[in-house]
């Protein structure tokens, strides 16, 4: 870079800056804009959740959390995540394995299909299941006659959650596996390992951090999903209310402290997710970046 000699001699050297960065003043302004913008739009709402939750003191806060409907909502949210996340984990690994390690026609179409839930409104994701299982539909009456409730019951909530969360694991793993190629697997196979052994001892250890990363994001969305679940749940207190839906009901009843108390648990979940995610990125950043992750 060109260094103006007249400036090195002068006391004005303090105002000199390399031509490939901005002046000190511009830098401070840009950092200032960033801090104020993120502070107003992201940090302030997060802080307000906890402040509102403790507005009437810790006693009210904990009362709101141990109340039976809140307990039922927490249990349902955990149950739904405990079903949806493992299902999508298995699907994500198998789908990524198929797409990354094999060549077949229609691969691009398959990848698009996997990304689809990200570009569809959560309300529409819920709507498709209502259309499929309502009493006027093709499948609804059949399930009803066999005594299986799907809509406005737990199976519907699980289905909607599986739909909105299934891209997370697959999306994280596809670029990672494509980047790693198939040489390790070929070596294992040529040494006499069978397909299952190859997967268990070679492929899985290679992808474990990417897998954990995907599961983390999948779980956060599964526990926090609102739109899709809201459409299929029927909002039956103590039965089909997940935590986000319970927050909505309490809020609409002007029971703000209780609403923010339950919301604070979800905010804690978000914070834990962010911390674990940052730790993963810090420790295994190179491996995850190979995946071209976010």
């Amino acid at each position: 870079m060109v260094h103006d000699l007249s400036q090195t001699a002068a006391p004005a050297a303090a105002t000199w800056h390399p031509a490939t960065t901005e002046s000190r003043g511009s830098r401070y302004v840009l950092i200032g804009i960033t801090l104020v913008f993120l502070g107003l739009f992201l940090v302030l709402p997060l802080v307000s959740v906890f402040v509102e939750a403790f507005r009437k003191g810790p006693a009210e806060y904990f009362t709101a959390l141990i109340e039976p409907d809140a307990q039922a909502a927490i249990r349902l949210t955990l149950l739904v995540a405990a079903i949806a996340v493992p299902l999508n984990l298995v699907f994500g690994v198998v789908a990524a394995w198929t797409i990354a390690k094999f060549e077949f026609k229609g691969k691009a179409f398959l990848t698009t299909l996997i990304d689809l839930p990200f570009s569809v409104s959560p309300v529409i994701s819920g709507l498709v299941y209502v259309l499929l299982f309502s009493s006027h539909s093709l499948l609804g009456p059949w399930f009803k006659s066999h005594g299986i409730e799907i809509l406005f019951a737990v199976p519907g909530i699980v289905l909607a959650t599986v739909f909105v969360t299934f891209p997370f694991v697959a999306r994280e793993l596809i670029p990672l596996m494509q980047h790693q190629g198939t040489t390790d697997e070929e070596a294992a196979l040529s040494l006499g390992a069978n397909g299952w052994q190859t997967f268990w001892h070679v492929t899985l250890p290679n992808i474990k951090w990417g897998l954990l990363y995907g599961v983390l994001l999948c779980n956060a969305r599964a526990m926090g999903e609102f739109g899709a679940v809201s459409v299929v749940s029927g909002h039956i207190r103590g039965l089909t209310n997940t935590m986000p839906l319970h927050v909505e009901i309490l809020y609409n009843e002007y029971n703000f402290v209780a609403a923010f108390a339950v919301a604070s648990l979800l905010a804690l979940l978000a914070l834990v997710t962010l911390i674990l995610k940052s730790l993963l990125e810090m420790r295994y950043g190179a491996e995850l970046r190979a995946a071209g992750g976010h």
Binding site: T20, S23, T34, L38, F41, V94, I114, L159, L217, P244
Partner: protein, 264 residues
């Protein structure tokens, strides 16, 4: 076998339900779709959804690029924490964001109480909707632009500087055009997400028909009225408009990538 499992799972979870939606919409016919689409309440809801999503995505592009630039180029205390916080909207459930933003911008809220004397109402107006959509869309812009900025080689900037460009010219004439495809992608992702957003919006929107009622909410209202045909038609129209807009953005992107582009 793995392919079979993947296809079966996708068919069960995605294809069959979506075919159901398509079949339902088709059974309405063009006349039925047109009837719902030209209903004034539907038209207003679509206008509000796409309008606020567009404005929010524009604002996110501006601030998102600044945030990404600051995170990539500058070193200052707390940078790592700020980098992590950008992902908050991905992790925080939308309903929680919705009630938090509403409490902040309500008349007696932390920010609302300063805006109210000025005659600015945010909560329960389209401005409130836009703020919620800025919240959910921001990480899409930052996380799309950031990795591309990291790959810019400083030689390009040095060349511009030695050729006599000042810093402002280097940024606006050399760096930003190269970032254009990434910025467009970020815009498209933030926009697509905002159009369909429901949870964070319904609390702050006030949900007044014709004024602050978004299209996803109208779908929910039609469903609660057991008007499945109406709900399906609005959903189909939303999907059609979204796909058309994403298709146009893809075309612009292909064009701009040919012109400039860092090969992303």
């Amino acid at each position: 076998m793995a392919l079979g499992f993947t296809l079966a799972y996708l068919a069960l979870i995605v294809l069959i339900p979506l075919t159901g939606l398509a079949w339902r919409s088709a059974s309405l016919g063009w006349a039925g779709l047109w009837h719902v689409a030209t209903d004034p309440r539907t038209l207003n809801a679509l206008k509000i959804s796409f309008g606020t999503a567009f404005v929010a995505a524009l604002i996110n592009v501006f601030f998102g690029v600044v945030v990404a630039w600051v995170l990539v180029r500058y070193r200052f205390p707390g940078r790592r924490i700020i980098d992590a916080i950008v992902d908050l909207p991905f992790a925080l459930p939308t309903a929680v964001a919705g009630i938090a933003l509403t409490s902040i911008y309500a008349k007696n809220g932390w920010i609302g109480r300063w805006l109210d004397p000025l005659g600015i109402k945010v909560a329960f107006t389209p401005i409130g909707i836009t703020i919620a959509l800025i919240f959910v869309g921001l990480p899409f812009v930052v996380r799309t632009v950031q990795p591309v900025m990291e790959e810019i080689r400083t030689e390009v900037e040095e060349a511009a500087a030695t050729l006599g460009a000042n810093r402002f010219q280097t940024i606006t004439r050399v760096l930003l055009p190269g970032l254009q495809p990434a910025i467009l992608t970020g815009f498209a992702l933030a926009f697509a997400r905002a159009v369909g957003e429901y949870g964070s919006v319904i609390f702050i929107a006030g949900n007044l028909p014709y004024v602050s009622e978004i299209a996803p909410l109208l779908i929910v209202i039609r469903l609660e009225e057991f008007d499945y045909a109406g709900a399906t038609a609005i959903a189909a129209i939303m999907l059609l408009i979204s796909f058309a807009m994403l298709f146009i953005i893809n075309l612009i992107q292909a064009w701009s990538r040919r012109r400039y582009g860092y090969g992303t």
